[in-house]
């Protein structure tokens, strides 16, 4: 579904991504792991068109490198940024409606379904997003992206700063999303979550992919974990 090949990206003169290559298949949960500053978030920002790409990014067979963010979103890629970026002055309902690409859109997710999955959001449907808790904001942000019926979503650190109970809810939601055929590219620092829900993993270091495997194989690769993941 998503094929990234020899992807380079720069912030000014800094060469951040130095030939990143990986793939995500339909319905798969793939995690990008690594320490802070290795280029995981830059990778998904580059795929989304927020950072200028140098290299090949193919989605459902189509080259998307160089396309604008809204065009990439309309091709079926959803993006949940690390800072959540909910619209604080709009209500929960309005935040969710913004995720729809058109009013006539009928996809895998709709307002009623989202509200039944997250009664908290339903109860606060007419409350402005700015007053929600961190966990509720994260759920809102993910649901808003789902409303656009993407074929793949890229999620940046969804469990950052959340209570353990909410982290478990997020993990369950991600598995539910994958069950419905939506591929997930997850950028995560919490190794236990990634190991629990991912089908495959990539470990990044110095702007490159330095390890590819499954949760089981990574558990066996002590040297990789020690050198690139553990603090």
């Amino acid at each position: 579904m998503l094929e990234v090949a020899d992807l380079h990206a720069y912030y000014g003169k800094s060469h951040i991504l130095q030939g990143v290559s990986f793939q995500v298949q339909e319905g798969e949960i793939v995690s990008l792991l690594g320490r802070n500053g290795v280029g995981r978030s830059t990778t998904i920002k580059t795929i989304m068109g927020e950072v200028e790409p140098h290299g090949s990014i193919r989605f459902k067979g189509e080259e998307i490198a160089g396309k604008k963010s809204f065009e990439i979103a309309n091709l079926g890629i959803g993006y949940v940024p690390e800072n959540r970026d909910i619209f604080p002055t709009l209500t929960v309902r309005q935040n969710l409606q913004l995720g729809l690409k058109s009013m006539r859109q009928e996809g895998r997710w709709n307002l009623e379904e989202v509200f039944s999955m997250f009664p908290n959001l339903a109860e606060r449907a007419d409350v402005v997003g700015g007053v929600l808790s961190g966990g509720e904001q994260q759920m809102l942000c993910m649901c808003r992206t789902l409303m656009g019926d993407p074929d793949m979503i890229m999620i940046d650190e969804p469990t950052e700063g959340l209570a353990p109970k909410i982290v478990a809810q997020v993990a369950n939601l991600l598995q539910e999303i994958a069950k419905r055929g939506v591929a997930i590219l997850l950028v995560e620092q919490k190794l236990n979550i990634a190991l629990k829900i991912s089908h495959r993993l990539y470990v990044m270091g110095h702007g490159q992919v330095i390890y590819e495997g499954t949760p089981d194989s990574l558990m066996q690769a002590d040297a990789v974990r020690a050198e690139w993941l553990e603090v």
């Binding site: 989304m48 979103a73 940024p81 619209f87 709009l90 309005q94 913004l98």
Partner: protein, 316 residues
């Protein structure tokens, strides 16, 4: 006394709502692009001139419909092929661009329509007194101006707060990248809002032209006051612009209608100055005389006591 107050209020309302039609577009554009469009009042002038030309052949009502549309398309064109390119060079370049555009439009108006005042008339259909109170007539056309301004205000309010496109605009103003990531074409939205903003200025020109006269300096006359309004209301605040527009419209109207001045104040204090005093002009000044500078005095006061404007937010 009551008749003066009522008519001053009605006239202030007409001016205030007219000013809001200009200020609302300017505020929306500022909210999105972070730049004050110095050419905004020029689009108001273009509205009046286009409507004048159309009215010569097809009548006032056709002008009322098509002149704002032409101005809106022109505004969208300016955003797409002018401002959007200049935007990459920063806000100063944008300001200079809009400043230059204002001059260009004024020169173009003089070139195509000439330097003189145009005989742009209100429609015969509305050439009658709407009502007579205390022996004074209130023209139906002014009532029409109030009606159309309020209709546009309510329409704009519902569009921005209740419709899906309004929600997208609100979100795009504060989080353009996030809105783009959700699949919305933000540059197209910005172009549309710029077009609608200039079209609103065009409507103001169409309905103000017959009352405030259509001449090449009309943009300069109203333009400076519109900037005063958006600063007093708070940069980027639509509600603030609405309050400031009515405030200035009423303030000027009451000042013009009043019959008081410095001599009355001096009498009250029991003071008297000789007629041949060097500062006679100052002692004999009346409120109607200083009415045109009242908005600017108010601006100075607001900047001293509340620099963010009435409903503006302090920048972080």
């Amino acid at each position: 006394m009551l008749d003066v107050f009522i008519f001053a209020t009605l006239n202030g309302l007409v001016t205030g709502l007219l000013l809001f039609m200009l200020a609302s577009g300017l505020t929306l554009i500022f909210s999105m692009m972070g730049v004050l469009n110095f050419a905004h009042a020029s689009f108001y002038m273009l509205g009046a001139y286009f409507a004048y030309s159309i009215s010569l052949y097809f009548g006032f009502w056709t002008g009322l419909i098509f002149a704002p549309l032409i101005v809106g398309v022109l505004g969208a064109f300016v955003e797409r092929y002018g401002l959007r390119r200049v935007h990459q060079a920063g806000h100063v370049a944008e300001l200079v661009f809009t400043f230059g555009l204002a001059f260009l439009i004024e020169e173009a108006v003089q070139f195509f329509w000439g330097p003189g005042t145009k005989n742009y008339q209100q429609p015969e259909l509305l050439d009658f007194p709407l009502f007579t109170l205390f022996g004074q007539e209130f023209p139906a056309y002014r009532g029409f101006m109030i009606g159309i301004s309020i209709t546009i205000f309510i329409g704009l309010y519902y569009l921005l707060t209740r419709s899906r496109i309004g929600i997208i605009i609100q979100a795009a103003i504060t989080h353009p990248k996030t809105v783009a990531n959700l699949g919305h074409n933000v540059p197209l939205i910005f172009m549309g809002v710029f077009g609608v903003g200039t079209a609103l200025a065009g409507v103001a020109g169409v309905i103000a032209g017959p009352v405030l006269t259509t001449f090449p300096g009309m943009a300069v006359v109203l333009g400076s006051i519109v900037f005063v309004i958006v600063v007093i209301g708070g940069l980027g605040s639509l509600a603030g612009a609405f309050i400031a527009s009515l405030l200035i419209g009423l303030l000027q109207s009451y000042a013009i209608a009043s019959d008081v001045g410095v001599p009355d104040l001096l009498n009250l204090l029991g003071l008297e100055f000789a007629r041949d005093h060097p500062l006679t002009d100052l002692w004999t000044m009346t409120l109607p005389q200083i009415a045109p500078i009242l908005p600017f005095l108010l601006l100075v006061l607001v900047l001293i006591f509340r620099p963010t404007g009435l409903l503006g937010k302090r920048e972080q």
